[in-house]
């Protein structure tokens, strides 16, 4: 291509111009909605924390431990919320390549987590089978406690041990979609 031809293209290109809309109102509305969502979330966290303080007034250690479990759950949810928000912010102006990378990383993470869940809970269940009979040995109805607990633990074992299978099954659709977009990006020479 000659310089003259390229300059002619550049001049035609520079001739293309048009009006840009004023988007301040829309942008401010979006910012307000983001702020509102954050305020609502923190309000819910505050209510939940206030509610979880009730079990701490009880003398029973079992009831107090429920309060701790509740607080741990709220903390996990809040930390998760911040990580998710941070992830969204990072990819907010990202392109399809970033989005695809993000999806692939998420699927890999889910697969790894499913395997972690499988083996962590398997260990827990095995430990439970050995430890629980000793724990309830001194209780008034140990057989009844075991009759209730073991089937529940078995259900937990089945659900968690099969986690990699049902996670893979659920993710198959996402993987097909990723394959579809990868093909589109190849077609577009991206």
């Amino acid at each position: 291509m000659t310089d003259v031809e390229w300059k002619s293209w550049q001049s035609t290109w520079a001739g293309a111009t048009g009006p840009l809309p004023d988007v301040r109102a829309r942008a401010q509305r979006e910012v307000r909605l983001h702020r509102l969502a954050s305020v609502v979330f923190f309000l819910l966290v505050a209510i939940a924390v206030a509610a979880s303080s009730v079990p701490f007034t009880d003398r029973s250690s079992a009831v107090r431990s429920i309060g701790w479990i509740f607080i741990a759950f709220i903390a996990a949810m809040s930390i998760g919320y911040f990580f998710i928000r941070r992830g969204i912010d990072l990819t907010r102006n990202g392109n399809p390549r970033d989005a695809l990378g993000f999806l692939e990383r998420r699927l890999r993470f889910e697969r790894a987590t499913a395997h972690l869940v499988r083996w962590a809970y398997a260990g827990l269940c095995v430990a439970f089978v050995f430890v629980f009979p000793h724990v309830v040995a001194g209780h008034s109805a140990p057989r009844l406690e075991m009759a209730i607990s073991f089937p529940l633990m078995f259900v937990l074992f089945v659900v968690t041990f099969s986690a990699p299978w049902w996670v893979a099954r659920r993710n198959r659709r996402h993987e097909e979609e990723i394959g579809h977009w990868r093909q589109w990006m190849d077609e577009q020479h991206l």
Binding site: W13, A16, T17, L20, E30, R92, P96, E187
Partner: protein, 163 residues
């Protein structure tokens, strides 16, 4: 730096890059709004690690790609050929005066996105290194894509002239 400063300096370049992704009409307006809102929201986080021009064009480019991606999900493959009238006052006169430019943009939009984005930024006068930074590829890759894009563009123009 305010949005007004950015738009005063880089508004026309922004408009052209957006026009490389969509034809005139409601769809272009939507994408323009999306890009400007994204620029407005990202502006407080702009740390001047790159030039302001790279900053706004990167956002426009990424939003344009995402728009094309969403558009590819739509069932109608002929959506590009549907012309939608621009309802703004004075829009017709404006389109008439830049008919040549609009025709050029139409040729540009026939290129694959990977070539289109590089050609649009090169036409804007950006050096290969800056294009590479915006698009997220190497400068060598920019040169290869640009050469292919110019060739494809010239073929498209020649085909129309022959017809």
């Amino acid at each position: 730096m305010t949005l007004d400063d950015l738009l005063r300096e880089h508004g026309p370049a922004l408009w052209r890059v957006i026009a490389g992704y969509t034809q005139a009409g409601a769809e272009r307006d939507d994408l323009t709004q999306d890009v400007l809102v994204a620029v407005w929201l990202a502006l407080p986080h702009f740390r001047r690690e790159s030039s302001a021009r790279s900053f706004v064009l990167r956002i426009a480019h990424n939003r344009g790609l995402s728009h094309a991606w969403r558009r590819a999900r739509l069932p109608s493959p002929d959506a590009e050929s549907v012309e939608v009238a621009d309802p703004r006052p004075g829009a017709d006169e404006h389109i008439a005066t830049s008919e040549r430019a609009e025709q050029f943009l139409r040729h540009l939009r026939t290129l694959p996105l990977g070539q289109r984005e590089v050609l649009a930024l090169a036409l804007e006068g950006l050096p290969h290194t800056e294009i590479a930074e915006i698009v997220g590829i190497t400068a060598e890759n920019v040169a290869v894509r640009l050469s292919r894009a110019r060739e494809a563009m010239r073929r498209s123009i020649e085909r129309e002239e022959a017809a």
